[in-house]
């Protein structure tokens, strides 16, 4: 056997422990976890080997490995672990470290992962939006112009071009950061691996699997989690379609001069509640609220067996909660015409949405990109699928 030189990184071990993997050192390598895991491949299964690498601080093997993302944190391993070493939680912490390792700029990842920077992170969008509002002279909420029918129009509070400018900038930033991170991750995984899959087919199969959540449904202890996640996933998809649709309405009218019909309201917001775009948006919002509530209740219910989750997890859940709550409230307060509450709530909504998108490459939101990449890679490398 060829000689191998291991490079333990003790700070990496400390970081895993600080990131929700505090039970890591309890592992005594019995491998109950790999056997009870329903989602691991049979060859070189996880998470036993990851627990060993993590204990030793062999960072390279962990962050250049698709396996930590093939884990869906079913927590079957954690429930059956004879030592309370919580492999599910440790792998969650390793995933956080992976995001941090590849994210650009790395400093932002450190901030997103650490509660002491939370206020700073929220202050950035808050200042941006406050500056816009102040520059428009809209700080006096009762003086904000109303719509033709006298109702609240958020576009008059913060006009669409400003929103677009801020979010296009945020999205571009996130996209570039993701591209840099994923390129690094892919090349780290590819080193020394014989890639012989059919990339297009592998991507297609991965997408089908994500859409069906088939792998996720193989969890035993936290079986309901796949339903909750599926709901959140499709709610986000619905909201993405809604947003695109709204863009088509606005710019379709303004740029291409498309006129609205009694059903499809091309033009500016707000749109009537019976508009199909509005219906999709509202249904998606309710699905998201229901889904994220299910996610939360499952986590609380399973905490004793599956582990309580880390700051990283709960920050992500909290931001989604804040987005969906302020989103629904914004609409309700607008319809009820309670201006003094409606505008501030809408402001908070925008701040939270900014938080989710601009910091996506550094928060748990990044899981959708890294896990998808790992799933494609695992197929491409004949690791799975």
């Amino acid at each position: 056997m060829a000689e191998q030189v291991l490079k333990p990184d003790l700070n990496f071990v400390k970081d895993i422990i600080a990131s929700g993997g505090e039970s890591l050192k309890k592992c005594y390598q019995c491998s109950t976890c790999t056997v009870v895991c329903n989602v691991t491949p049979d060859t070189k299964p996880f998470p036993r080997k990851e627990m060993m690498y993590a204990q030793w601080g062999i960072k390279d093997k962990l962050i250049s490995n698709p396996d930590v993302w093939l884990c869906h944190q079913c927590s079957d391993c954690t429930a059956h672990c004879p030592r309370g070493a919580k492999p599910g939680e440790v792998l969650g912490a390793i995933r956080k470290m992976t995001i941090k390792a590849y994210a650009a700029p790395g400093a932002l990842a450190t901030m997103v992962g650490d509660a002491k920077y939370l206020l700073v992170l929220f202050a950035i969008p808050a200042i941006i939006f406050l500056a816009i509002i102040a520059s428009l002279g809209n700080l006096n909420l009762s003086a904000i112009p109303r719509g033709e029918d006298g109702g609240i129009v958020y576009a008059k509070f913060i006009p669409v071009p400003f929103i677009d400018a801020v979010f296009i900038a945020a999205a571009t930033f996130a996209l570039i950061s993701f591209i840099i991170g994923i390129k690094k991750y892919w090349s780290a995984m590819s080193a020394g691996v014989n890639l012989q899959g059919n990339l297009v087919g592998n991507i297609k199969d991965t997408i089908i699997e994500i859409l069906s959540h088939k792998k996720f449904q193989e969890c035993t202890v936290t079986k309901e989690r796949s339903t909750a996640h599926l709901l959140v996933f499709y709610a986000f998809a619905g909201l993405a379609v809604t947003t695109t649709w709204a863009i088509v309405y606005l710019y379709g009218h303004e740029i291409f001069g498309i006129q609205g019909t009694s059903l499809l309201h091309f033009g500016e917001s707000p749109y009537p509640l019976y508009d199909p775009m509005k219906i999709l948006g509202n249904v998606s919002a309710l699905a998201l609220l229901f889904g994220i509530t299910l996610v939360t209740s499952n986590r609380l219910k399973n905490a004793a067996r599956a582990g309580g989750g880390s700051y990283f997890d709960w920050l992500f859940i909290s931001v989604i909660y804040a987005i969906v709550a302020t989103g629904i409230l914004s609409e309700v307060l607008r319809l009820l015409d309670i201006a003094l509450l409606a505008y501030p709530v809408y402001f908070v909504h925008l701040v939270c949405v900014f938080f989710l998108f601009a910091y996506a490459p550094f928060s748990k939101m990044a899981h959708m990109v890294y896990r998808t990449t790992a799933m494609v890679f695992a197929r491409y490398a004949r690791r799975e699928g």
Binding site: C30, S31, V35, T43, P45, R83
Partner: protein, 419 residues
């Protein structure tokens, strides 16, 4: 206290008549102490009496027990009660008052163990001595060499006219159906707790198949299966269809070293499995044994035994705990699943029979005696006049139990002499 009293013999109550309790009793009595042994079973010998062979010499345990039985029989300082349970311990060192419940045997000292009652008995009962793998008549001798050699009538299974049939068959007037449960109180200077252990309930090991998957047995069942006096007369055949076993997998740490079950090492299970591997290998030269383990723990000089078994090419030791046991499709075979850590791949191994190396649960986990202190796992703790010994306080093997009991004797005698 007068000088006169100081010269009286120490009075010691020993709770439990297994190997630890018997050793305590004979060692103490042979120094002049008065000893009372209280045993819950209808026989003495405890778990050791259920073994096929025991360490360190791998001889049948009945020879070791026989020696102790003879020492008891010939020593007037020892009295013992079987089918008896300690109810309550009050008082303090030098002056304990212990109430003991005596359950009826329905058979008196006239019994000559002629078996006539069992032959006549119409009812049967599951044989817990063989872990339910066979039955006996409701009038039964616990096992061939049981001491005392007296039959028992299991009243829970011998209802209606059953008792009468046994009584009629007995030519020695040994059956007394009118026996009632009673309580006695004994006064002693010190108490030795030697309540031993129970095999951990394998039904609680949900992923290891016991009770759900055919041909999954425990290591203690394996002892009975291998014993010439066991349910198969020592033939190693699997329970579902009587097929002689060719391939056997051992699952180490079945409940032990597991915070969800027994959060401690049961000390002897690794050796028990290595020993049982020799049962299988000696009976059938074609057989193959595979032992799945986390760490093979062979304390002290037992390491040598480990090397001996390991050298057998038909015994494979695989590092990786079995965490799934399922029935093979379309047969009574069993599939065990583990990660072979040396290759880093999951292995699914089909075998004729699986033995779960279940650990020792101290008797205190199921039943605590009032007047005795226990730790959080049910292990008995020694006090100033109440001393724990053997597996009631720590998992250990028979040899260590003997040594430990001798130590307990010393402290019990001291307590009596300080009265």
């Amino acid at each position: 206290m007068s000088e006169q009293n100081n010269k009286q013999a120490s009075r010691i109550l020993v709770i439990g008549g297994g190997f630890s309790g018997l050793t305590t009793a004979v060692d103490a009595a042979e120094t002049g102490a008065e000893v009372i042994v209280v045993e819950r079973n209808p026989y003495l010998g405890g778990r050791v009496a259920q073994l096929n062979k025991y360490f360190p010499k791998l001889c049948p345990p009945i020879c070791g027990l026989e020696i102790n039985f003879r020492r008891i029989k010939t020593n007037p300082s020892i009295s013992f009660y079987t089918m008896a349970e300690v109810d309550n311990i009050t008082g303090g060192p030098g002056d304990y008052s212990v109430t003991v419940k005596l359950n009826p045997r329905y058979v008196n000292d006239n019994c000559v163990a002629c078996n006539a009652c069992a032959e006549a008995c119409p009812a049967e009962r599951p044989n817990e001595y063989n872990f339910g793998m066979d039955t006996t008549k409701a009038a039964y001798l616990p096992f061939t060499q049981a001491f005392p050699q007296k039959y028992v009538i299991d009243s829970a299974h011998c209802k209606g006219d059953c008792g009468k049939a046994c009584q009629t068959a007995c030519k020695y007037d040994a059956i007394d159906l009118g026996m009632k449960a009673g309580t006695i109180t004994v006064k002693v200077d010190s108490v030795v707790v030697a309540t031993g252990w129970n095999p951990y309930d394998a039904n609680k090991l949900d992923i290891l198949g016991f009770g759900k998957v055919k041909n999954v047995i425990t290591n203690m069942m394996m002892e009975r299966l291998a014993s010439p006096a066991g349910p198969t007369a020592g033939k190693l055949v699997r329970p579902s269809d009587g097929k002689p076993v060719q391939t056997v997998a051992f699952v180490q740490c079945a409940g032990s070293r597991d915070e969800n079950h027994l959060p401690f090492c049961s000390y002897i299970c690794c050796l028990a499995s290595l020993k049982q591997a020799t049962y299988i290998r000696e009976q059938n030269p074609e057989s193959k044994v595979r032992i799945f383990y986390i760490d093979i723990r062979t304390p002290g000089r037992y390491e040598k035994f480990y090397w001996k078994v390991k050298d057998d090419p038909n015994v494979t030791l695989t590092k990786g705990k079995v965490a799934s046991v399922v029935q093979a499709e379309g047969s009574d075979d069993v599939v065990v699943i583990a990660e072979d850590m040396m290759t880093g791949d999951k292995v699914k191994v089909k075998v004729d029979m699986v033995v779960l190396a279940t650990g020792m649960e101290p008797a205190g986990a199921a039943k605590k005696l009032s007047g005795v202190d226990y730790n959080e796992n049910g292990f008995a703790l020694s006090g100033t006049g109440v001393f724990a010994t053997g597996c009631s306080k720590n998992p250990m093997d028979v040899a260590k139990s003997g040594q430990d009991a001798t130590g307990a004797v010393m402290r019990a005698i001291q307590t009596g002499q300080r009265r």
